[in-house]
Subunit: 223 residues, 2 copies
């Protein structure tokens, strides 16, 4: 269906131009932007809650929450102490740059250090749409199984930070960490990886150190 | 973008016509078709393995496995004893009726009682594409969390069978079964529900009884 392909290419091209605009706005304000992606239920909102609470008083942080319906995630981010903007996609399976542009308009970027964009829970479609953030962060989750890099290569190839969440469940499920890491290594050699448990807090300090160092770099770039 | 909407409507209309053709072929052969959907890692392939092994000698069963990449799931279904056809979508986030039509051409339907179509792991997009199967079956998974019906209403509204898998993990995660079931009830009152653990086998007999009864109905319809 060549017609359909042309339409898709036009949409992606328009999205890229808007993503560049979003990036320029973040850069001008010295705000680090993270695009947080994962399957439904891998722990995106839990990671945001931990990050907001741990960095309170050290980084000024806002969250843009993308969901098909409800404001449950934005409510949780706000309860943790972040400025939160909810995007309801109304059925769309991913965020795109125009949705993020609308949400940016509701934030005072000059008062921020870090913006986390929580994408729709989906291991496929969000990988195709740049938002203008600086880093693409994927959360894998132990109970999802060790075969996911092999089965969702587009997502695993396109990110530059990977968290392996729910390590507290390793004793109760079948998950071969060596097989998982080998799949990641084939697609995305040397990708920065943190094994964490948002339930117990294990492994989160290394993630928080990385976030703070990356945000400091962003501020230096804007100065 | 009205142009884009028109294209999407044309695609869905064409898909529906092919889905009707698929359904007619299954009906003529007396084969029960199930469209199995879930998030990545919720347990679609594990449920198929259990179902194939448990019904061996009682139902003649084939599996069509949809994945973006690899034949890992079809290999598992075949190892369990099913005839298995792999569809690699090459990036597409869901199966559609034309992909299933192609796979049906590789199966001898007259020798079958039950066809399970394992959709791409995705809690959004597969809900929009009819395949021609008789039942849409969703697997929810305890570690995904109890908020999923609220956040993915399109999927929860559109199915007629729901499995809640990984009940063996209930002691180790935060999952409020009453909150989950209330969300389901709002969207899809009275939907047939089975709470199961593919790890321990708990709850699977009721699912297997339902599958056998539904397949027997299909045969009566064709006779």
């Amino acid at each position: 269906m060549p017609q359909r392909v042309a339409v898709v290419e036009n949409i992606l091209g328009a999205n890229d131009r808007l993503a560049d605009e979003n990036r320029a706005r973040l850069d001008a304000a010295g705000v680090l932007g993270l695009n947080l992606m994962a399957s439904p239920g891998a722990g995106k909102t839990s990671l945001i809650e931990h990050t907001v609470r741990a960095l309170a008083g050290r980084l000024r942080l806002a969250v843009i929450d993308g969901d098909i319906a409800t404001s449950l995630d934005a409510d949780r981010a706000a309860a943790a102490g972040a400025t939160a903007v909810q995007i309801n996609t109304g059925g769309e399976c991913h965020l795109d740059a125009v949705m993020v542009q609308g949400a940016l308009g509701q934030l005072d970027l000059t008062g921020l250090d870090l913006l986390i964009v929580e994408n729709v829970g989906n291991l496929v479609c969000p990988a195709s749409f740049r938002l203008g953030t600086h880093h693409s962060v994927l959360i894998a989750s132990v109970p999802e199984g060790d075969d996911k890099p092999y089965k969702y290569p587009g997502m695993y190839r396109g990110v530059d930070v990977l968290l392996i969440n729910k390590t507290d469940l390793l004793p109760y499920v079948t998950f071969d960490m060596a097989r998982f890491r080998q799949g990641v290594e084939i697609l995305n050699p040397g990708v920065r990886t943190f094994a964490v448990s948002c339930r117990t807090g294990e492994g989160l300090p290394a993630w928080l150190d990385w976030v703070q160092a990356a945000a400091a770099e962003g501020r230096r770039g804007a100065a």
